[in-house]
């Protein structure tokens, strides 16, 4: 498996407090990597390292090397806007812009200059919504406001928005935590689809979701990456006792 993102010796500090300790991990291309671990172990912090979202937190300091293909993500010279074009993100709480469904999707391709004509833009909006399994539900109300959709629809709208600019990598931070089982299944199906063209890293608190959607799973605990292996190995026969205690509900 070709690696898409390669982190080596990553340390992250919030002021004095170290949130990630010497993390090294290879994220395989066109694979789904799940990150699991107890609350506060550093999953979201790690995810934010991958598109420099920690930059916006003043007290946050990131050390070590994170390569995206051959590009050093932590380099001062890096064009962060370009990076985020290639590394999209979906958050736990759906956060559509307070604009129409259409505008939510059209915004990214427009500001990144990916389209020449209105027709092209229409096409991107349609294919993104189709990929996110939302098209049929919204095709007649594209000019209604996005925040008027249900939670599950809003989350799929945010996924459609993320994929509209065709990022190579999609980061998802607990994307289904507010969704019902049907919407969750739709998103999981979508993740399966998306991995044909994208590399996906997903943080989830649902062990069964991690098991269902991912090929690799990493277990974090207290800022350390305790175990990283194939998802099958992690859920059938983990190599580390702490991993086993966590996934079987014996923690604490």
């Amino acid at each position: 498996m070709k690696s898409k993102i390669s982190a080596k010796g990553v340390n992250v500090y919030y002021g004095e407090k170290q949130a990630l300790k010497n993390i090294s991990i290879e994220i395989g291309e066109k694979e789904v990597t799940a990150l699991i671990g107890p609350s506060g172990c550093g999953k979201s912090t790690f995810l934010r390292c991958l598109n420099r979202m920690n930059d916006v937190i003043d007290i946050c300091r990131v050390e070590g090397s994170i390569k995206f293909d051959n590009l050093e993500i932590n380099s001062k010279e890096l064009d962060v806007v370009r990076l985020r074009e290639n590394v999209g993100m979906v958050f736990q709480k759906p956060n559509p812009f307070p604009k129409t469904i259409y505008e939510n999707i059209a915004y990214g391709p427009t500001i990144h200059g990916l389209v020449q004509s209105k027709q092209e833009l229409d096409e991107i909006v349609e294919t993104s919504l189709k990929k996110a399994a939302l098209w049929n539900e919204v095709k007649d109300r594209l000019h209604e406001i996005g925040t008027g959709l249900s939670g599950g629809q809003q989350q799929r709208l945010c996924i459609a928005r993320a994929i509209s600019i065709k990022p190579e990598v999609i980061l998802m931070d607990e994307p289904c935590s507010a969704l019902d089982p049907i919407a969750t299944a739709q998103i999981e199906e979508l993740i399966d689809e998306l991995k044909n063209e994208h590399t996906i890293v997903i943080v989830t608190h649902s062990m069964s979701q991690a098991a269902r959607v991912s090929q690799k799973t990493g277990f974090f605990h207290l800022g350390n990456l305790i175990e990283f292996d194939s998802t099958e190995k992690i859920f059938k026969n983990p190599g580390n006792q702490q991993t086993q205690d966590y996934i079987t509900g014996r923690f604490g």
């Binding site: 059938k236 991993t243 079987t248 509900g249």
Partner: protein, 225 residues
């Protein structure tokens, strides 16, 4: 591995109950096997009848285990060691059910044997039979105590039972050439074969227990069954 308890006590209790049911079922199956050999040696028809009626208890254990396993999978979605615990219980219970069934079958055949059988033949069957009782006992202990070494020993000793079976069958076949109580002797052939198959089921259980403990499969060719 020394496992911590689950945070959810009712889940912990359900897994312990499953383990406990397997041990009870195993103990009963082992007892049925042991008694069937005893009934054969002593030609104890009353005991043979009791074995036949008691077999139903083993079936009930099997049903209970099946129900527990389906519930665990549906309601708890067990992972890692718990998943292996659950799946392995289902497989072990079906091997134990077969051991019970084959023991019952030995008892039935004892009842249908009416003439006196040469003590030399019975002795050979007794030796093989007691050896399988020991195998079943050991493998149940390995399950109870999560002892990988014992499972490997059980797995490796199956060949002895196969050899004892072969020589028992040869002896019976030789007698068949010269004696006229052929129906009775044929029953002994089946008993010899039943004992061998019980040994195979003990071996299957050893494989399951090994997988339960290690998450890996026993290496190498299975001893010829």
């Amino acid at each position: 591995m020394n496992e911590k308890s689950h945070i959810v006590k009712s889940y912990e209790e359900q897994l312990l109950l499953l383990k406990d049911t397997i041990v009870k079922m195993g103990t009963k199956a082992e007892k049925q096997l042991e008694l069937s050999i005893q009934a054969m040696v002593r030609k104890d028809l009353e005991l043979a009848k009791k074995i036949i009626t008691d077999d139903e208890q083993i079936d009930r254990y099997e049903f209970s285990i099946e129900e527990q396993v389906v519930n665990l999978i549906a309601l708890r979605q067990p992972m890692a060691i718990d998943l292996r615990e659950t799946v392995v219980a289902l497989k072990i219970s079906s091997d134990l059910e077969r051991i019970g069934d084959l023991s019952k079958n030995i008892a039935k055949r004892i009842i249908s044997i009416q003439e006196v059988i040469s003590s030399e033949l019975i002795k050979g069957l007794e030796i093989a039979g007691l050896k399988t009782v020991r195998q079943v006992n050991l493998v149940l202990n390995s399950y109870l105590h999560r002892d990988k070494d014992i499972t490997e020993n059980v797995w490796n000793s199956d060949e002895e039972i196969d050899q004892l079976t072969n020589s028992n069958m040869e002896m019976v076949l030789k007698k068949l050439e010269t004696e006229k109580n052929q129906i009775q002797l044929t029953q002994l052939l089946f008993i010899a074969k039943n004992i061998e198959r019980i040994g195979d089921h003990a071996t299957n259980i050893a494989e399951q227990v090994y997988f339960l403990i290690t998450g890996d499969y026993l290496e190498g060719q299975r001893p010829k069954g």
